[in-house]
């Protein structure tokens, strides 16, 4: 019989710190939205902050940081690969954007 010993996880204090950090990032996102940045720059900032939030949530709330590394390397690269493979249609969206007809 193979017993799986529970692995130590974060403390409630660390969870609370992560929670506060996530809320601060959301506040920063809203502040940036009203800074009237160009759409591309705003999108890059918001996506970057969302990725930081996702990483914090996956690593701490979902305990991936405290699991064996094999779990991380078996899951995350494949998800990233699938998401990267979806990027091939952006040139077409950009083509349509540049072909917009402008009124007189």
């Amino acid at each position: 019989m193979t017993a799986i010993a529970p692995r130590p996880g974060p403390t409630m204090k660390l969870y609370a710190v992560v929670w506060i950090g996530l809320i601060l990032i959301v506040g920063l996102e809203v502040l940036l939205t009203y800074e009237h940045l160009p759409a591309g720059a705003l999108l890059a900032c918001l996506l970057g902050l969302a990725l930081i939030e996702a990483a914090l949530g996956v690593m701490y709330f979902m305990h991936l940081r405290y699991e064996r590394r094999t779990l991380f390397w078996s899951l995350i690269p494949y998800l990233l690969f699938a998401l990267v493979m979806m990027d091939h249609f952006w040139p077409d969206a950009l083509r349509l954007m540049r072909q917009r007809l402008h009124g007189p």
Partner: protein, 209 residues
Amino acid sequence: MSEAATTLRAPPGALTEGSPYGIPSRKLAMWLFIIADAATFGAILFAYGYLRLANPDWSKPFAFTPTIVNGMVMTVVLLTSSLTMVAGLAAAQSGRTAAGVRWLGVTMLLGLAFAALHLREWFAMIAEGWRLFRNPMGGSPLFGATFFGITGLHLLHVVCGVIVIGVIALGFRRGRFGAGHVEATALYWHFVDLVWMFVFPLVYLMNVR
């Protein structure tokens, strides 16, 4: 005997092999589901990005009040529900059944509050004339399709999560489910929270007036 050991119980004499990941099979199954669901949400958000970029008359209907304020409150409610969920899991893993059930109950209430806030916003938009394929601002009708489609799929996940947490909490209180079940449910709930971390900036903040 730990619950994880019980999960991997094999008949006497059978050859058994340890999990390469060191986690129970239900937790691994939940991780695999989450990865597949993340790819689904990724595909939907990519499709939204394509439509938003390719449509010249994309509407930007959201004002700071009430929509963005409402969205911020929803985000804080969902993030707080993740905190109460980890408190429930910690209580369940340390054998404090009553505290675990209580925290799961708080998580359910917060999930319901999120759903109620979301529906209130939906009804306000529907009252303004927004439909799946109708745009009262005169812009691309695909705005309604993507907005209601993406937020509706997320809302469906929230509602399913609340129901699952309720079932697990009841079973945990009666001794039918263990801390491992709570842990797998918590993984799902945190995932639903993380998806919102992308939906809020991309669907709401990128469409402010």
